[in-house]
Amino acid sequence: LISNQILIKCINGNRRAQKKLYKTYAQKMFILCYRYVSNKEDVEDILAEGFIKVFNNLSKVEYRDAKSFEGWIKRIMVNECLTFLRKRKMLFYDFEENKLNENSYSINSDVDAQDIYKMILSLPIGYRTVFNLYAIEGYSHAEISEKLNIASSTSRSQLTKARAILKKRIVKNSKL
């Protein structure tokens, strides 16, 4: 775990401490970013940019505990991913899916994590982004609409569609 002392060393430019911090979070952040941008090379670029921001802003962050610090890094990485998607204009294209009755399925909690991850990756980018932000990162619709510059209602509808697709696929997967 990263301690306050390591952070101080990182701020002072100690290379070993900087690498330790990087190695502690790199893998987690890679998986996080990959959920948004499912391309390895792009994710590596995003990670590099994100970590540069992390190191350059370390002196500004107030360290309370490892969890909150990780949350801060996550926010930076998510923002980097969204910036990337925005730059590439990859967000939000209309995706039609058959209407599903959401409440008609019960999902088995034994579904494999890797499968779920892959299902998320297979969602259209717009749905996936909103779903990631809302369901996994815990942002509200208001925050999402602000971040993605969309209406709150759009965010809701995207989330609903994303859920519906995921549920359908999970059920299909468990039947197999």
Binding site: A26, Q27, F30, Y34, K40, E44, F51, S106, A113, R163
Partner: protein, 261 residues
């Protein structure tokens, strides 16, 4: 299943993924990009460099201040004139004079007591002042390449290898006697056994097999010692004294005063 339950299930599953099979993350590639763009403590190396420089300077200073400087003490009492520091010149010099030679390598030949030549090579540096001295029959072809003490004017440059000291030769010769020490050569026997030559308990030089040494020693009652064999002579200024030493048998040493002949 409600939406919140569904979301929480998905979040738990997504968070539990710690590797992406088939898309393994290459840490080093990203780290190389990151490290070139983040602040680095260059001061640390600078401080280290400065510390090394300061330590080195302190070391040199300590050495200059506190290093045992026997030679400086020695020069006040005795100035060794060794045969290896002498050169042959074509003309025999019969009086004290100063010679300025150009750089060249010379093989010196000195005659020992048995007229065996001892060959030594040395270099006379440019404009080095050489003080010549006629010392009589035995070393009449020697020019002691001397000697450095506390005189200010000479010489301009002196060999670093042999610690030679500037000396006011004329002044020194007024009060000093010449002590010639000779050790005949016995081939390889005792070749590695260097005799330490002491005057009044103070080491003034070493004598190896077949070596001939001339020392200028302050006049007065002086006790010479080689391998615990002692000879006491009341030295008179400007006079020459001859001492002979040799390895006799199984480490036994002979040390005696001899005549010039």
């Amino acid at each position: 299943m409600k939406e919140k339950e569904f979301d929480s299930l998905i979040k738990t599953k997504a968070d539990s993924v710690d590797t992406l099979i088939g898309n393994e993350f290459e840490h080093d590639v990203v780290w190389k990009k990151v490290r070139t763009n983040i602040p680095k403590n260059t001061n640390r190396r600078l401080y280290f460099f400065v510390a090394v420089v300061i330590c080195t300077l302190m070391g040199i200073l300590c050495f200059l201040l506190f290093a045992p400087n026997d030679s400086v003490e020695e020069k006040e009492i005795l100035v060794p004139v060794k045969t290896k520091d002498a050169v042959v010149i074509d003309t025999i010099v019969n009086k004290e004079e100063e010679v300025v030679k150009k750089t060249k390598s010379v093989t010196s030949k000195t005659n020992d007591f048995k007229n065996k030549p001892i060959k030594k090579k040395l270099t006379i540096e440019n404009n080095q002042r050489i003080i010549t001295k006629d010392t009589g029959v035995i070393i009449n072809k020697l020019i002691p390449k001397l000697i450095d003490s506390n005189s200010i004017d000479t010489p301009s440059k002196i060999s670093n290898k042999n610690k030679l000291y500037k000396v006011d030769f004329a002044k020194i010769t007024e009060t000093r006697a010449y002590v010639h020490v000779y050790r005949p050569s016995k081939g390889i026997v005792g070749a590695l056994n260097y005799f330490t030559f002491k005057a009044n308990g103070r080491k003034i030089g070493t004598i190896s097999n077949g070596e001939y040494e001339v020392f200028m020693v302050e006049s007065g009652l002086t006790e010479f010692e080689i391998k615990r064999k002692k000879i006491t002579i009341n030295l008179e200024a400007r006079k020459s004294y001859y001492l002979r030493t040799e390895l006799v048998f199984l480490g036994k040493t002979k040390f005696e005063r001899v005549t010039e002949s």
